[in-house]
Every structure is written in structure tokens, then in C-alpha cells.
């Protein structure tokens, strides 16, 4: 009886747009779904630092170097907010990190693709951050309070990143032949993986219905993907480049762009760990974690020593 009442009150709150807060009663599945999604999101920020970090040492100007470093650092900051938001659902950051490092937890598959040229810094900013933003703007209104608030902060910085990515490509698109080729090549490589970021088709997606009922999500994967295609298909005109899809075409009836079929075999393989960089990413995360173990131990030992010194003095 209690459970039914509680569930009813819970759904009423959701329906009337009242945020669910950490101490509120919530169905176990709501807690789990949010925990999974927020921690995955945090992991994506952290793993996402690696492909862009790959170009810090080789950024082609001091200004670009500073902007890129600041961007990667922002992602670390996003990871922090998100781990904090996820911790309100009852799992420690240590546990979440352990799950990431063991391969148990997932992160966005897009970061399992390599950044091969400087133009990739532009394409990642424009396409990958661009796709992420559509999802994140929606999540600013998600029903779990701490997640929604983290997203509001993150969205501000992300839209800045996307503009910077576009600017990198814009300069390349107006540059030498080699730069223009670099630009087109990066767009060719990142376009399809960016479309995959929205996840499986609605007809294949298992969690979608319940997530929409609970307002964890407010748009389906396919709706967001279409929104992204419509946006990018227009923006690319400013670059004078093309998207690598022969089926991409404006549809006057639907008022949307039609686009070709995603390679779902590749999608599922990258999810399962067979992408070009899955292993490298986990090796890098584990290395940083393992080599940092003595530092974390020392910090804890030192803090405890100082605490006991203060206690001794106080006594």
C-alpha cells in the first residue's frame, strides 16, 4: 500500500515538473537509471580528455594550445560535477572510477575513435560537442535535481567549446589546399560516429519509454539525432565542406533532412570494446590511476597526521 502511494506521489511530482531530490523517495529503477546515466556521463568527460589531450603538445599556435588545454580542463571539471551528482544516489566516486577502470562501466563510444590530425580538434568540438549539447540541453530539464543543475553549468561551457571547434574548422576551410583536405578528412571520419552518439534507434532502445515517462529524457534518440542532422547540414554550408552521406537530402514534406543508414554493426562493436581505441583509453585511465595510488595514499596519511596533531594539541 505504502509503495503504491509513494509511486503515485512520485509520478505526480514528475508530472507537475517538481524535481526529485536526493532525500526524496524514488523507485529503485529510477535511482539505478539515473546513477548509471550520470556516472556514464562523468566517465565520458574523463575519457573524453584523452583524445583531445593527444594534441596539446602539438597545437599549432600558443593561442590554440592555451584554448585546447582550457577545454580539456573544463572536461575534468564537468567530470567532477557529475561524479558529485552521481554520489547523491549512493555510490562513491572511488567505486565509480573502479568500475570504469575495470571495463564494467561504459562511457560514450565516440571517444574510442582516434584523433589523427589537428583538424580533429575542430571536428570533435563541432560535431562531438555539438551532438553532446543537444542531449545536454535536454538534460538541463531532467527530473533528477542534482543532474539537472550540473547540466546547466556544463551547457554554458560546452556551447563555447562547440564554437571554438567550428572556428578551428572555419580557419582550415579558408586555408591552404592541405588544410582544406585536413578539414574535409576530419569531417568524413567524425560524422558517422557523431550520429552514433545518440544511441540505438528508438525501435531498438530498451530504456527509452520508462525514461521518458520519468522525464529523465524528454526526447527520444531518433528525435535528437534528427535535430542534429538538421543543424549540421546547415552549418556545414558555411565551411564549404560536405558530409560523407550520399543520401543526405532536404525533405520538403517532413521539413527535415533525410540521411543514410548508420553502420550499426560498427556501433555495437565499438560499444562491446572493439573500437580502434577502446583498449588504449582504458590502459591510459588505469595507468594514471595506478601510478597515482601512492600520491592519494600520501595525501590521506598526511591529512590524518595533521588531524591527530591538532587533536593532541587540543587535548
Amino acid at each position: 500500500m505504502f509503495l503504491q502511494e509513494a509511486e503515485k506521489t512520485f509520478q505526480e511530482k514528475i508530472d507537475s515538473e517538481i524535481k526529485i531530490e536526493p532525500k526524496d523517495w524514488m523507485p529503485e529503477a529510477f535511482r539505478k537509471t539515473n546513477l548509471r546515466q550520470i556516472s556514464q556521463h562523468a566517465h565520458s568527460e574523463i575519457v573524453g580528455m584523452l583524445p583531445e589531450g593527444n594534441w596539446i603538445s602539438r597545437a599549432p599556435s600558443l593561442k590554440r594550445k592555451a584554448i585546447l588545454i582550457a577545454k580539456v580542463q573544463d572536461e575534468a571539471g564537468h567530470g567532477l560535477y557529475l561524479y558529485s551528482a552521481a554520489e547523491t544516489l549512493g555510490m562513491s566516486r572511488e567505486q565509480m572510477v573502479a568500475d570504469l577502470n575495470s571495463g564494467k562501466a561504459k562511457y560514450s563510444s565516440i571517444f574510442n575513435y582516434p584523433t589523427l590530425t589537428w583538424a580533429d580538434m575542430g571536428a570533435v568540438g563541432w560535431l562531438v560537442d555539438g551532438a553532446a549539447i543537444l542531449n545536454q540541453v535536454m538534460l538541463c530539464r531532467t527530473s533528477y535535481g542534482p543532474y539537472a543543475r550540473a547540466m546547466v553549468r556544463i551547457c554554458k561551457e560546452e556551447s563555447f567549446h562547440q564554437r571554438q571547434g567550428f572556428e578551428i574548422l572555419l580557419i582550415l576551410s579558408k586555408g591552404s589546399k592541405a588544410q582544406r583536405e585536413m578539414c574535409q578528412d576530419a569531417i568524413n571520419r567524425w560524422w558517422w560516429p557523431s550520429l552514433m552518439m545518440f544511441g540505438p534507434k528508438d525501435s531498438e532502445s530498451t530504456n527509452s519509454d520508462q525514461s521518458i515517462k520519468w522525464k529523465i529524457k524528454r526526447k527520444t534518440n531518433d528525435e535528437l539525432r534528427q535535430q542534429f542532422v538538421d543543424m549540421i547540414a546547415e552549418q556545414i554550408k558555411l565551411l564549404g565542406m560536405t558530409l560523407p552521406d550520399k543520401d543526405l537530402k532536404w525533405n520538403d514534406k517532413t521539413k527535415h533532412y533525410d540521411f543514410g543508414e548508420i553502420n550499426w554493426d560498427e556501433f555495437w562493436n565499438v560499444v562491446k570494446g572493439n573500437g580502434p581505441c577502446n583498449k588504449d583509453r582504458l590502459i591510459a585511465r588505469n595507468k594514471a590511476h595506478d601510478e597515482g595510488a601512492w600520491v592519494r595514499e600520501a595525501a590521506i596519511a598526511f591529512a590524518e597526521k595533521r588531524k591527530s596533531n591538532i587533536n593532541t594539541k587540543a587535548a
Binding site: 589531450g53 593561442k63 594550445k65 592555451a66 588545454i69 571539471g77 588544410q179 600520491v295 596519511a301 598526511f302
Partner: protein
Amino acid sequence: MINQKTINATLHLADTTLILAQKNSEWCAHGPILEQDIAITNITLDLIGQSRMFYQYAAELINEVENKNETEDTLAYFRSEREFKNFLIAELPNGDWAQTILRQFFFSCFHQLLFEKLQHIEDKQISAIAVKSLKEINYHVKWSSEWVIRLGDGTLESHSRMVKAIEILWPYTGEFFNAEENDLIEVKKIKSNWIQKIEAVFFEANLLIPGNVFMQTGGKQGIHTEHLGYILTEMQSLQRAYPGLEW
């Protein structure tokens, strides 16, 4: 000739901050703790900001004297190993977190004393950069001091790693105080203050300053370790491969 002296001194300041930033930036995305990944990256960004101000000023002076078209980027990306004037300590490998922290601590303490003097020199541009940078450097000193103490007085392992780091880095600190014709201040005069700062923090950290050690030198004259060539090769690769383009 006054200008040539200022140019060399400015390039030395620019090169040292850039190369140290380049090394510190290797920690970005690989730090031992997420919060500290962010902290060292902040320092990296400050150092790049400082190097850019110095390069821009050096470019301005060079263009005036030699009627050239230098920019911050031509100076950073098209000078070779023998032309770079950074301190050797900046180009050494990061080693572990202890070594990175200790280098930052040695350098930032020196930087603080140096810039406290530079803010009063006649050259308006350099003194303005010094004033602006000191706010940042004071934080670098604070942050790195805290870490030296934390690691020195943490666990047995962290302590022994700090001892090892001192052994590796101490021979590269003598260079800070080697007088050279291009110096903007009398560097010898800040040596005792620097030693005092180090001693005070080492005392709290249960660490000791080594006895008489032979000191390495050569950075300001462009005589470097073998590490710098690789750092520049990587850093300059795109500009060298596609010269003269906008990025």
C-alpha cells in the same frame, strides 16, 4: 645594444615558462587525482599566458630593431634547440608526481623572487608583466609548497620519492643564480632568500637540502640537455610541416 640585452632576457623568460608549461601539460588527463589534474593544468595555463606576453614583447622589440615580422608563434615555433634560452630544469622529464611537484616548487620560489624584483625595473612592459604574473606565481608557490610538505611528511614511499626527486633536481637549481650579461636584475642577490624559502618548506616536510653538489648550467646560453630537441620537434611539428599558415 640595450635592446638586444632586453630581447635575450625576454626570450629567456618566455622560453622557460613555455617549456615548463609544455612539460606540465603532459599531466593534463593523466593526473593522480582529478582535482590535482585541474590544479596543475591551471598552473600550465598561467605559464603559457606568461610566455605569450613575453614572446609578444620580444617580437615587438625584435621587429623594431631588425625590421622583421616576428610574432609570438614564429618565436616559439621556428627557433631551434641552440636558440632556446630556457633553464634546463624546465626541459627535464616529468618523472613521477614528486618530481613534477618539486620542480614546480623550486622554480616557482625562484620565479616569485625574480618577479618581485622585475616589477620594479625600468622597462615598463616587463614590469607590468611581472606585476600581473605575481598573483599567479604566489598561488603556484603556495600550491607546490603544500604538496612538497604533504609528500615529504606523508608515507614512507612518498617521502623516499621526494628524496629521490631532490637528488635528481637539485643540480639544476644552481643555474637560477648564474649571472649573465643579459640579466635584468642581479640574480645572485636573491639566492639566499630562495634558500630560506626552500629550507622553511623542507623543514616542515622533513626533507633536507643536499650538501655541496656540482651544478648543471647552460640553458641561458642555449646549451641544453638532450631532452629539449625532442620537446621542440614535437611542439613545432605542425608549424614546421606547414609553415606560414594560419591555424
